[in-house]
Subunit: 147 residues, 2 copies
């Protein structure tokens, strides 16, 4: 048995694999890694840590399951349901069902965050070109998209 | 609607009540507060933040449900199943079912930690005097108990 404690050092945790965010080519994303901090047979949710390198971004997606996010490292931005928010140290983000969302690190700094989700959850959906275009009608989202 | 972001400031979160750890007199504890960071009807677990003031401690207890803990502030100690561990920044602690456990802040410093648990969970059990005495047979635990 590994023991009850897994030590933290420079945003890696002991006995915790540093994983690709998703399978390469499965969806658009850039410069992001994943560590599963807690996935236990008795727990109905799991806690993951995602880290986006400076200039990187998560996939623009939506799904029925809820995300509960806590910023653990750095600062960045998120787009939630057509609005853009700056996020920093320990800020909490709730992503409601079927809400388009995406996270971006700022240019000069990594963004790391915890994300709690149910173990049983649906697969994310990607936007159609029209859905993406509708989001970008908000100038703040257009800028967020880098367009 | 409160919006998707709840800002952090000095270990309090926006729109988040600062609660008593437990009902006073229900179990032994000292100098500890609770904030529920995420409790959402669609999530099967919840995420709480506990903060123990310098010199304070959580209840010595055990239960069937699993605790998944991440240290967010300061340093302290925990007793897990008869062993004592120092914990600090972002260290992870898994508390398996029916394992006696207790957290303590160090003398000069608050200890704050996230704790993920299932929403549906059993009530904690307190030790009998004999069970507590058995734990204190380990000198490190005896010291941890302050005996």
């Amino acid at each position: 048995m590994a023991g009850p404690i897994r030590r933290f050092s420079e945003f890696h945790w002991e006995d915790t694999d540093l994983l690709a965010y998703k399978e390469e080519g499965s969806a658009p994303f850039k410069a992001i890694t994943r560590q599963v901090l807690f996935r236990h047979p008795a727990l109905k949710s799991e806690l993951r840590y995602f880290e986006i390198e400076a200039g990187g971004y998560s996939t623009l997606e939506r799904h029925q399951h809820v995300h509960a996010v806590l910023t653990l490292r750095g600062e960045g931005q998120c787009m939630i349901g057509g609005q853009v928010f700056g996020i920093g140290e320990n800020d909490l983000v709730t992503i409601e069902p079927m809400t388009w969302h995406q996270f971006r690190a700022n240019a000069g700094e990594a963004l790391g965050f915890l994300c709690m989700v149910n173990v049983d959850r649906d697969k994310p959906q990607l936007p159609t070109p029209d859905e993406r275009k509708a989001l970008a009608e908000n100038p703040a989202v257009k800028t967020f998209f880098g367009e």
